[in-house]
Amino acid sequence: MDLNYSKDDLAFRDEVRAFLSEKLTKELSEKVRLGGDLTKDDMEGWHAILNAQGWLAPNWPKEYGGAEWNAVQRHIFDDECASAHAPRVVPFGLSMLAPVLQKFGNQQQKDHWLPRILSGEDWWCQGYSEPGAGSDLASLKTKALREGDHYVVNGQKTWTTFGQHANMIFCLVRTDSTVKQQAGISFLLIDMNTPGIEVRPIILLDGSAEVNEVWFTDVKVPVENLVGEENSGWTYAKYLLTHERTNIAGVGFSTAGLAAVKRIAKAEICGGKPLIRNPLFAARVAQVEIDLMAMSTTNLRIVSQAAAGGAPGVEASMLKVKGTIIRQEINDLARRAVGPYAMPFVSEAVEGSNEPLPDPHDAGPVAAQYFNNRKISIFGGSNEIQRGIIAKVKMGG
């Protein structure tokens, strides 16, 4: 056992740091730090910078243009990016769809779609959830009927993150209603500009416009956009979900978040002393820090094991549950730390107006972030569903 980074790891870390300090503009990192809404251009611009460096797809095999980093390298990269307040990479094309295409797509699909993900020509969104099919994803109803060389799609998807930016959506659709639910689902790639698609925004409780409803009325999709076999979509969907859960621990976000909490708590005065010296608050911070230290090692242990033997299974569920609890706890600390200044609704101020922030901590909309991040224990398989998976795998049933 050796808990220290090797010489190569340290060299890699220096390389990442040098890259970030050269390529990440102050303007962009400040926006990320203050929780401002990133524009499509912001996100695409950052993707292009990473792609030029060959670092956009750490998980992809080299043959497709990936970096093929090991677990420690990925950990270092995530950690450094989060501490530098780099934008997060939009995962839908890169880490959700791409692994499915690499494993189940035909050659033509791989050749066509994968390079476009890297180049940013396509922006993908994920069309899984429906109003009636959340945790019970297999009950989805959006229908695709085969008519000659097309499928005709009717139905509704919801919670579609960044559907407003996307030109492509990968969807789970029902192609057979006569069999067991899981056995009648297919995986379709759909051009968002096809007639019959309507995207309607859903405003979240912090005022952000990141998710959408996507409606399909007689939408014609060429059959070559079917991935794998008809009615085998459930297998691909589950494969995708295991990838969705890698980097789910969010150790980098937590590390950066905790550093921000400490920074605020050093500046905030409580009873004549810095808040960080208040025993009650200090105890809250220390408790989370202890959890995070262990989590960071849990994450490395699990990711290294998985690298040796494929995608992580039940351990990914463990990382998701504990990782989201820690992140949400840090959001809670941040809102506590700023005191009465948690109350102003400042997200608009961050976005563009020239009004100075009322909050003297320069901490950004910490309460809005607290509310927005309630989502992380709900989406991608809720924490209840993850606990169910852990229990089932360990105890049967």
């Binding site: 959830s129 959340g134 009950s139 909309p365 309630r374 209840e384």
Partner: protein, 367 residues
């Protein structure tokens, strides 16, 4: 002992609940949220007409109530209906200061619904400390900055605290002043609040004020007014928590996944049970804070600190669990629960948070 409401209180509760149910809906709420100042005068005047503001004051002060129990009852109903209106700050907190200082003409205007007030006390570095005042007053001329002043822009007159003597954290030497909203040298940077309503940063640059009460004796007025406001805040949060719990309960038995209501999953059912247990605890804490309000100061304060600490903890549980057990739907602006959850959480940032009241509770009970 008797835990029943008096007949009068029962009637007040019934009529308030009926009225608020009809007048606070998502439409009126959105109207308030989108308004320039964060209030609608309709609800304010209707409530004043019903005598609600009068119930914040004793008969000697020109009202017909004023006890902890009167106030808790009203604010619980406001919280339950999720009505966004500055009753707590404009009428109760500011009004009680004026009543105690003998400014009864202004109190009468307030009771009639014709006056909007704002208390400008907290400062950018005071956090929740009541005694911390850096703003100065010299011969009635005020200089300084006040932070997150509720209802500042909608107010007609502000009550501003300023130091006339002593060190920055001394209880003695804090004086209170009326400052007209349009006074020269006064600026308000107004902003919306995440849980509804508006507040502002108030800057005082050689502003003329007129003294309220005795010079240097403002702290006692502030302390008593904050005490009743904290009771009201706890009661309002209790009402909001009740609605959050009811909405969640309803949703769990309605929402189907895997072919059955999600309430049938024990992972959720037990947590609903825990929420209901915490609701009973929260109700008892509020009853104690309200019921002991007229006791000696130490008993009063112990129960207020206990209540605000407990509401901070139980409130967090109720709001987070309500959202989690709803799933995605609770994350949307359109669904009532989102607003209620924000209100519950943001209540922890008013009049001292969970830890602030824990520290004061420890100081009073373990010394």
């Amino acid at each position: 002992m008797n835990f029943d409401l008096t007949d009068e209180h029962q009637m007040l509760q019934d009529s308030l609940r009926r009225f608020l149910k009809y007048s606070c809906n998502s439409e009126t709420r959105n109207e308030v949220l989108n308004s320039e100042t964060g209030i609608t005068s309709d609800l304010w005047h209707a409530m004043a007409e019903m005598g609600v503001i009068g119930a914040f004051f004793t008969e000697e002060q020109g009202g017909f109530g004023g006890t902890g129990a009167d106030i808790a009852l009203i604010f619980e109903e406001l919280g339950r209906a999720n009505g966004v209106s500055p009753f707590l700050d404009s009428a109760l907190l500011s009004g009680r200061i004026l009543a105690a200082a003998g400014e009864l003409d202004r109190v009468a205007d307030l009771i009639g619904g014709d006056l909007q007030l704002a208390l400008a006390h907290g400062e950018p570095t005071s956090r929740y400390d009541l005694n911390y005042v850096r703003t100065t007053a010299v011969n009635g001329t005020l200089n300084g900055r006040k932070a997150v002043v509720m209802n500042a822009l909608a107010s007609d007159v502000l009550i501003v605290s300023a130091r006339t003597s002593g060190e920055v954290s001394d209880e003695d030497g804090i004086s209170l002043y009326f400052v007209e909203k349009n006074a020269a040298g006064l600026t308000i940077q107004d902003y919306a609040l995440i849980a509804g309503g508006h507040a502002g940063e108030v800057t005082l640059d050689n502003v003329e004020g007129s003294l309220i009460g005795e010079e240097g004796k403002g702290f006692a007025l502030l302390k008593d007014a904050y005490a009743i406001a904290t009771v009201a805040q706890c009661a309002e949060t209790l009402g909001a928590m009740t609605t959050a719990t009811e909405l969640t309960q309803e949703y769990l038995v309605t929402r189907q996944q895997f072919g059955r209501p999600i309430a049938t999953f024990q992972a959720l059912a037990h947590r609903m049970a825990d929420m209901l247990i915490e609701m009973e605890q929260a109700r008892s804490a509020v009853i104690r804070a309200a019921g002991y309000f007229e006791s000696d100061e130490r008993t009063r304060d112990i129960n207020i600190h206990a209540a605000k600490n407990l509401m901070g903890r139980a409130g967090r549980l109720i709001s987070e669990e309500s959202i989690q057990m709803h799933g995605g739907i609770a994350m949307t602006q359109e669904y009532e629960l989102a607003h209620i959850a924000k209100r519950i959480t943001m209540a922890d940032h008013r009049f001292g948070d969970t830890d602030y009241h824990l520290e004061r509770f420890i100081a009073l009970t373990q010394s």
